[in-house]
Amino acid sequence: MLLTGADIIAEVLIEQGVDTVFGYPGGSVLNIYDALYQYSDKITHYMSAHEQGAAHAADGYARLTGKTGVVISTSGPGATNLVTGIATAYMDSVPLVAITGNVPTSLIGRDSFQEVYIAGITMPITKHNFTVRSVEELADTLRAAFKIAAEGRPGPVLIDVPKDVTINKAEFENKPVEVINAEDKRLKHLEKVADLINASRFPVVYFGGGVRISGAEEELYELLHKAQIPATYTMMAAGVLGYGDELNMGLVGMHGSRTANLAVDNADLVLAIGTRFSDRVALNPNKFARRARIVHIDIDPSEIGKNVPADTSIIGDVKKVLFSLLPMVQKAEHTEWIEQINQWKEKDYKPKDNDEVLKPHQIMSAICDLAGEDAVFVTDVGQHQMWAAQYIRHIKTRSFLTSGGLGTMGYGYGAALGAAVADGGKRPIIHITGDGSFHMNMNEACTAVSYNLPVITVIMNNSVLGMVRQWQKTFYGKRYSSSEPERKTNYKAVAEGFGLTGFKCHNLAEFKDALGKALELKAPVWIECVIDREEAVLPMIPAGGSVDDMIIN
């Protein structure tokens, strides 16, 4: 059938199984939005306050479901407003398709109104991007975008569609969706890795977001328990291994547990699985796992040896690799090693409770108690993010959504709304933020209200940019440059101004009361938690340091 480009976009979205898109209308995408109007029975569009919020929402939607998120924006500023969201998704390997309108092809390159070369701008922050030059190539380009976004190591793909391409007509026929299977190539070095595991006395598994993306949670569990290997994880893998698991040593790296960092430091074998030795984990690449042989398992060949050299590597889908590796790994006890680790665990940093004032760890604990095991946690970036990573009792995979690689302040609200849309009101969605991050994108409150998305926002308000200030306190002689803005924001009043409910709490009892009420409301709520500005994220290994440099108080 002969369809306009805009209709073709809608048809391909449906063909690809997309029923939810996020975005913001504008001049260059008027035809696309007209098609979305016609197709509104099959595709639901969620409009944000700002395109960045829409990009984060599509990202949050994708992280929660594993499906590819879709975001649409107009040309020029609409497109540039997506950039932070796309870069966030790129750094954390989130499958995302961004569709941007552009000025008609006849006006491209003339500095036309709302024209920007978004394909050029997003080249380094997308897996790939396309400029569609004729309506005939539109359908297949969209299909290619979905395939690229989801296959292998996922990531964002941008498609720039000039306005005339959305009006022009072309023949369209549905095509079956290409099933993406992990490449069926022979895995190399399996036996060698199994031998290394079987011979090791002090093994450690250090795993990352790749385990979650690949859906290898069970295989990982089997491996750890069969060979009794203690494990530590990056923030991107929170929830992949249950909080209560006796082999779980907690987070690794800058704000990781002392036990995890000591274990990596003393191990004779480190199995790095679906992870990339970032500078927040391998703070000093020359000292990281210095006594260990390193085995690196990842789907992306360019990660092998990028930051820390590996002794052996297996390139492949983590789930397939672990599945093939499991029968070759012998049962083991590692009694002495586990005992050592348990001794270290006893000395791990434990903050003190206080019922008079709000303590970050108690807030997290109360959230877990009240929101229950089903809750989804979404964070912004800064101290609150680290506290959430450290003190939330992570038990479910894909339930901790956070900007790890890019560290995007302002990520949280949009992502939480995307998660709430995906979830459809079944699980509590808790958005944990700080007063710094929240001021970046709190405008998305209007979106929460428009669609009555029951996101509970917990604002950890210490009145300062806590993480910046903590570094200034520790490394810059307490010179608090631009980190103490002395804002007077009345969150309860602002919440009410947006048409949602707000609470303010000063102690744990008040917080529990407010959170309990918020959970019953099934509506968007803000809860401000007043905390002391001297609260620090501990332990901490300074950038470039090793476990020897760990700051405990």
Binding site: G120, M123, P124, H128, T131, D300, S302, G305
Partner: protein, 166 residues
Amino acid sequence: MDKHYLSVLVANHAGVLARISSLFCQRGFNIDSLTVSATDNPEISRITIVTTGDEASFRQLRKQTEKLIETKALFPLNLRTSLLRELLLIKLRSNPAVKEKIAEVAKKYNASIIDVSVGCMVLELTGEPERVDDFLAGLDGLEIVEMCRTGVTAMERGEVTYLLGV
């Protein structure tokens, strides 16, 4: 620090060169020269890259380039089994005193004099990069008005051994 030679076959799309140079810039790879050439297949261009760096950074460069969707094949060029060529155009200041010297140098290196104007001459030389280097070193006091080198383009001897990926 070694010189490395890399051949990359890419989809002949608008923007592919920008994508590759953006990648190199982003990741801080040093490029000595980069040439883009048409091939017998109109859908494929060949990019020949010369880079200086240690083995680890060359490996990263290769892997990152391989990840680009538009990269169809990629292989390092072994100097013993490859043919490397570069084209040089050089404009030299000429006057009756040095005219003969220029002709001599041109003859010695098999360069052609392709233009003679008032006050200067243009020479053309095609050859292995080392030969171009030698030629430039052998100018011995002759004044260079301007010059340009194309950078290396290369192919392997014998049968084609690479496969074009999808």
